[in-house]
């Protein structure tokens, strides 16, 4: 397995061949270096056993403690192995800014970076009004930005994006991002719905609300049930489609 080989071949660091530590941290203590090395060896052990999540955690810990570029390389490789190519790209990009990176590691990093770059999708969101837009990806805040258009890199797979601005209804998009996809999305943000009508004193709306909610739930569930089966079927993520 190439990723495993990539990681193992760099286990030289564990023997001290790459003892010089760049930032971050700026000046790790001996204890931190030692801890970083131990975490690195732990990561190698996990990688040998192909426990990639555990390996990733160990390499991240190693890098945080030591700032070792080799730990960063292994962290990036492990992210790529786990299919988290966006994170892998960030780590490779950071690694490749290191002027002291040895040629072999640089070449390997550039190769793996190209592979990850071929797997992510590039999303451009246009039409968002000026202002600090709050961008969430799969429910997590991704950025607050005033740049237009908004450009994102996403890992392949299903995603939900939302863009919000103060005092306007958020724009949302959900869909599958194919590897290497280039998506150009048009966001339309609208003013919020009108205020709720005032209820006159003495008019108890609760029974009507309950009846309405019940009817809506029933109708919605039946309709949802009817369309869920259709929606459960996979949909093509590319423009060119052949239906056998």
């Amino acid at each position: 397995m190439r990723a495993l080989a990539s990681i193992l071949i760099l286990s030289l660091w564990a023997s001290g061949a790459f003892a010089q530590l760049p930032e971050p941290p700026a000046s790790p203590s001996e204890t931190e270096v030692s801890g970083g090395r131990a975490a690195f060896l732990e990561g190698i052990g996990h990688a040998r056993a192909e426990r990639w999540e555990a390996a990733r955690e160990a390499f991240e810990r190693s890098y945080t403690l030591s700032g070792s570029p080799i730990a960063l390389f292994n962290l990036a490789s492990t992210d790529a192995e786990l299919g988290r190519h966006r994170r892998a790209l960030e780590a490779f990009d950071r690694l490749l800014t290191d002027p002291e990176l040895d040629a072999e590691t640089r070449a390997r990093a550039e190769t793996l970076r190209r592979r990850s770059a071929a797997r992510v999708g590039a999303i451009t969101i246009r039409g968002v009004p000026a202002g600090d837009a709050r961008v969430t990806e799969d429910g997590r805040l991704r950025a607050i930005t005033d740049e237009r258009p908004i450009e994102l890199i996403l890992d392949p797979g299903p995603h939900v994006l939302a863009v919000g601005l103060p005092d306007v209804e958020p724009w949302t998009w959900s869909g599958d991002v194919a590897p290497g996809a280039l998506l150009d999305l048009d966001a339309t943000l609208e003013n919020p719905s009108p205020p709720t009508p005032v209820v006159e004193p003495g008019d108890d709306p609760l029974p009507w609300i309950l009846i309405g909610v019940g009817a809506a739930v029933l109708t919605g569930a039946v309709v949802t049930g009817l369309i869920l089966d259709q929606e459960a079927q996979l949909s093509p993520r590319t423009d060119l489609v052949i239906d056998l």
């Binding site: 192909e50 194919a178 996979l234 056998l244």
Partner: protein, 203 residues
Amino acid sequence: MGRSFLVSERAWFPLGGRGPGAPGRSFFVSQCALLAALALSGCARNAIFELELDLPAQPAGPALYAVVQARPVGGADWDTLDALPGVPLCARASEGPCDDRVLDPACAAVLSVVADESELDVPLEVRVRYCEDPSCATDPAAPEHLIDVERPFYRGRYTQARVCLDDVAPGRETLERCEVRCREGTVSSYCRLDGTHFCEPPN
């Protein structure tokens, strides 16, 4: 080997939806509605194979289009099948190992082949012809490249494979079962040591 991949695969492609937890003061009607919705809803029965074709550079001579068709092996005659609109070849030749290439949309075709449950187990045959006519209707002698895919489909899964076509020339190649990926990552095989595919449950 497979176990660790299976865990990461599940983490990346979480199965099913997580419903809201507490029902609160739910009515009988809402319970019935929920049951009705659950009873009527289904799981994906189809499968989609995404084939990335890195197309060859336009050779000297008239402009050529790559015209792609696909069928289950032993399926209908090619002449009776619809073809996708021809994709013009571009002047630039791709370079580097196939897996490392960043596909240029102008020089590549990424197609989705959709199979329903009755077609999941059959091998797939893809034909790429290079024609002067974008529909390839008037060029029966056009050179063609055939790609046999041993096992492209797994129920409810997207699968992918890449083929780099470097020359406008007749040819035939086979994508074996373990060359079809169903997860992202950089691996040399998409099967476990026990021979099962990552798209299948392990033995």
